[in-house]
């Protein structure tokens, strides 16, 4: 007797739903949070939602191209965080705040 439970895979739609939920969480986070670090984290959530999509589709199509894409996304995300944090540190030194509402020299 084969235990059916072991053969079952999680259906594609579950992954897509998960990634959509994570993506929307990130999207809303960017729009409503005022702390620039939290905004950065929310952007990372959006990127990771994309990674879930790529891996799920890659498994679905039996095509590794999607997983290769994930490696590139991860690398770019790391570079983005490095640049972003550098900018935030420079900003904190000049304004002693990381709240986006405080940045009013230019009309937002």
């Amino acid at each position: 007797m084969v235990d059916v439970g072991y053969c079952m895979t999680v259906p594609l739609s579950y992954y897509i739903t998960l990634s959509a939920v994570v993506f929307v969480t990130g999207l809303v986070g960017v729009l409503i949070r005022r702390n620039i670090i939290i905004i950065l984290l929310s952007v990372e959530l959006m990127l990771n939602a994309t990674n879930i999509n790529f891996v799920a589709f890659s498994q679905h199509f039996q095509n590794v191209a999607g997983q290769v894409f994930v490696f590139f996304t991860l690398t770019v995300a790391a570079a983005e965080v490095a640049v972003g944090l550098a900018i935030i540190i420079a900003l904190y030194r000049s304004k002693s705040s990381i709240n986006v509402d405080e940045f009013r020299l230019l009309k937002w």
Binding site: S19, V30, V43, F72, V83, A86, K95, F103, L105, L106
Partner: protein, 493 residues
């Protein structure tokens, strides 16, 4: 797997610019302060070499690196434009950085890195390479925007650009992942094949398309995705602003046109209406809000938004289903022509703004231009030419650009769109000519410390001469550029 030598030879220009960028970044700390300008001249030399290489490649049509990169006249057109713009920006920065007392020469390295990103964007045949190119461009520009570290406004511009840029990249990437789910590949050709098999109302495909429109909309600064543009353009160092307004916009348009015509060409019926709406809102908002600006730099930012709206007229024509192939090609080539002409006049206008100094700062307020004609007749006259060209008044080149766009719209039976464009060109004449009026009709500031001075230098003169030559020559004799654009368009399927 080995890399074939012929593939590497095909991307030689990208490799050269990338190597020069790394060299500049590596040499910066060991170059004596007096010799730092040499790094800029080195970068300029690399650009000249690449310009020759890409010109020689213009007839080639090849896909390399298993269809990740395509070398064709379309990519060649954008690359030649990008070299010219980057070269002029480099020259302008030489003088501008000295005025601003910015001594870090990494600046040139980042400028070249941004250029590599743009070159990859315009010659990418896969969404992966498009994404990587976009990110390389954007990351370099975030850093460049904050290069005036002592100035809070520059840092703020950098932070805003970073937050909204990263946000838009996330949206773009999510769209790409959904397209991968539809097509099973990120190759534009595979996506085109998958689109033709699917029904046009497939929800995944539509959501993916809308996300791509939003992502590219941010990069091209199209209303309603333009919020970052005025703030970032105003706060950034002026040389960087000019580079962003011209080169980043051109590269984004280049990548965007290829994605939507080659990859999502089957969805024309769906995106055509979307772009029509974006085009009209961009024209209205960009031009109307520019009227109330008191900073010339900020006014030019809104004007760059408005110009993206004009360029979108050509995109709408290119996606018009009932138009013939010739008319659609005309729409596309007029977008390319327009952005090339826009590059020269905008660079010229920003150069004048960068040269105007008031007590160690930039004099970018409209007041600072008052009476400029009496004190600096040559600079005032040049600004007059650039403003007239931006407004689209003949014989300046801006007129030719608008003429081709409106002609394409009329031939595609979209005469009303041409009329809307014309109406808002008239609105734009108000705020462009207001600068001219202030320069020629108002009395200059009498007290010496209030009156801005003009930071003239040989390199600035060269930049202004090139921009002026571009505006005048292309205005009087546009035929070579028109035929170059028309040839380039044929490379797109």
């Amino acid at each position: 797997m080995t890399l074939p030598l012929s593939d590497l030879a095909a991307i030689l220009p990208e490799l050269i610019v990338m190597a020069t960028a790394c060299l500049v970044l590596a040499l910066e700390p060991i170059t004596p302060a007096k010799r730092k300008e040499w790094l800029a001249w080195l970068s300029l030399g690399a650009l000249a070499v690449c310009f020759c290489l890409t010109s020689a490649q213009m007839g080639v049509h090849a896909t390399v690196f298993s269809e990740l990169i395509v070398i064709d006249p379309y990519a060649g057109f954008w690359k030649l434009l990008l070299y010219a713009v980057t070269g002029l920006t480099l020259l302008m920065s030489l003088a501008y950085l000295k005025e601003e007392r910015i001594h870090q020469t990494e600046y040139y390295g980042f400028l070249l890195l941004a250029l590599v990103g743009m070159m990859v964007m315009v010659s990418a045949a896969d969404l992966l390479t498009i994404y990587l190119g976009t990110e390389l461009m954007s990351l370099s520009l975030y850093i460049l925007a904050g290069f005036k570290r002592a100035d809070g406004r520059s840092l703020e511009a950098s932070a805003k650009y970073f937050v909204l840029g990263a946000f838009s990249s996330g949206i773009l990437l999510y769209g790409i992942s959904l397209l991968f789910g539809v097509a099973g590949s990120t190759r534009l050709s595979a996506i085109a094949a998958a689109v033709s098999l699917r029904s046009l109302d497939d929800p995944t495909l539509l959501v993916a398309m809308i996300l791509l429109v939003v992502g590219f909309g941010f990069k091209m600064a199209v209303v309603p995705f333009h919020m970052w543009t005025p703030d970032v353009y105003e706060g950034s160092p002026t040389s960087v602003t000019a580079f962003m307004a011209v080169a980043a916009k051109a590269a984004s348009f280049g990548a965007f046109l290829r994605v939507f015509l080659e990859g999502l060409g089957g969805l024309k019926a769906n995106w055509h209406t979307l772009f029509l709406a974006l085009c009209v809102t961009t024209l209205v908002l960009g031009n109307v809000v520019a009227i109330v600006q008191s900073s010339v730099k900020r006014m030019l930012a809104y004007s760059s938004i408005a110009h993206a709206g004009y360029a979108l007229i050509g995109v709408v024509v290119a996606g018009h289903a009932s138009a013939s192939f010739e008319v659609r090609s005309l729409g596309l080539s007029s977008v390319m022509l327009y952005l090339a002409i826009y590059a020269f006049m905008t660079l010229g206008a920003f150069t004048i703004v960068a040269m105007l100094r008031k007590s160690g700062l930039e004099g970018d307020h409209l007041e600072d231009f008052s009476g400029l004609a009496k004190r600096q007749p040559v600079a005032a006259f040049l600004m007059l030419v650039f403003m007239v060209s931006l407004a689209g008044i003949p014989p300046a080149a801006g007129f030719i650009g608008k003429f081709y766009l409106f002609m394409a719209a009329v031939e595609a039976d979209l005469a009303w769109l041409a009329v809307v464009g014309l109406l808002f060109a008239a609105v734009s004449a108000y705020y462009y000519l207001r600068v001219v009026m202030v320069m020629y009709m108002r009395e200059p500031q009498t007290s010496a410390d209030l009156a801005p001075r003009l930071a003239a230098s040989p390199v600035m003169t060269v930049v202004l001469a090139c921009a002026l030559a571009g505006v005048i020559v292309l205005g009087l004799y546009p035929t070579p550029l028109v035929s170059l654009a028309a040839q380039a368009v044929l490379a797109l399927k």
